[in-house]
Amino acid sequence: MTHRVGDSMGQQGTALSEQALLESYAKTRSETLRNQILEKYLYIAEIVAKKFVGRGVEYDDLFQVASLALVKALDRFEPGRGVKFASFATPTLVGEIKNYFRDKTRMVRISRRETEMVRKLEEAKAHLTTKYGRSATPEQVAEYMGLSVERVLELMEAQSAGYATSLDSYVATGEDSQLIKLVGSTDDAYEQIEDKDFLEYCFEHLNDVEKKVIEQRYGQNKSQLEVAAMLGVSQMYISRIERRILLKFRNFYEK
């Protein structure tokens, strides 16, 4: 039998208002409410993130992941099922953090056996360096460890695979050879110019109401309902106008 300790504790007053907040958010999905609720529960992300410190990921990153998971949990939460939000959210947070560990470590995972071998390689290198008075060659290390040269080189590779290469690192000697400068990327500025040009062209062919709807809906981020009220028409009407505009845009685009 499991007793839920947390449920019987805490102040009744705040518990009620939190419940009310969650219920009205579930109905309205209002962003203001969402922010308010998240602020109240951010401490969960903080506590859970702290529990996972010391596993090779910085606290700040963990807190970030946990906070995002909190948003996800809130969006999925159904109040009125008799489950406390903290109880519902915690497994989601833990799950997301563990996924993060898995994804992050997959990039840099070295098997335990490999780790052990890398450690032996280090020892061998140190020993041989002392013995010969200079840095040992892979052949010397291979002979000493009873491995093939190929295997030694593999291990040396594994040794550095555990670290991500910095984009600021220099790939060659010379001033301008930071890795970041050599990594190519698509320049999307051209596409932006084309898009802007197209939009301007389309805009010239809209009537005043249509322009207003676009401005308010996408410029000011107003809802269809808000724009309808502003223009003194029904929300259905705005929806129809939007469909019409979309059709116009599509016709222009196909031309």
Binding site: M1, T2, H3, R4, V5, G6, D7, S8, M9, G10, Y43, I44, I47, V48, K51, F52, R55, A86, S87, T90, P91, V94, G95, K98, F101, R102, R112
Partner: protein, 122 residues
Amino acid sequence: MSGDVIRLEVPARPEYILAVRLVVSAVAERGGFSIEDIEDLKVASAEACILLMDSAPETLDIRITAGDALSLEIKALGQRGAAAKTSSEEGLSQYLLEALVDNCEIRQEGGVVRSVRFTKRP
């Protein structure tokens, strides 16, 4: 190591949680758990201790059973002072435990947690 039992009794004070975590991790390592699972077991053991310390016991009696799965049973023994009125960390310890181990039983006596039992399979 099927059915091996490891017992440990520590003063119910936060500074001994580390000792519990270390013993649990050493036993789990013998049981073939992955590094991630061992970390989870360490967090779960610590959370169980935190939960039990709310009842202000003298000592914690820890019994680890290592078989196909690893089971932990931690009991609060004696009474050092008054039990905490509200659970520390808003009761999150319990939710964390439930998220990290396969099954978990939390027993209360007189409104405070006095024993925690959980199991985790590798």
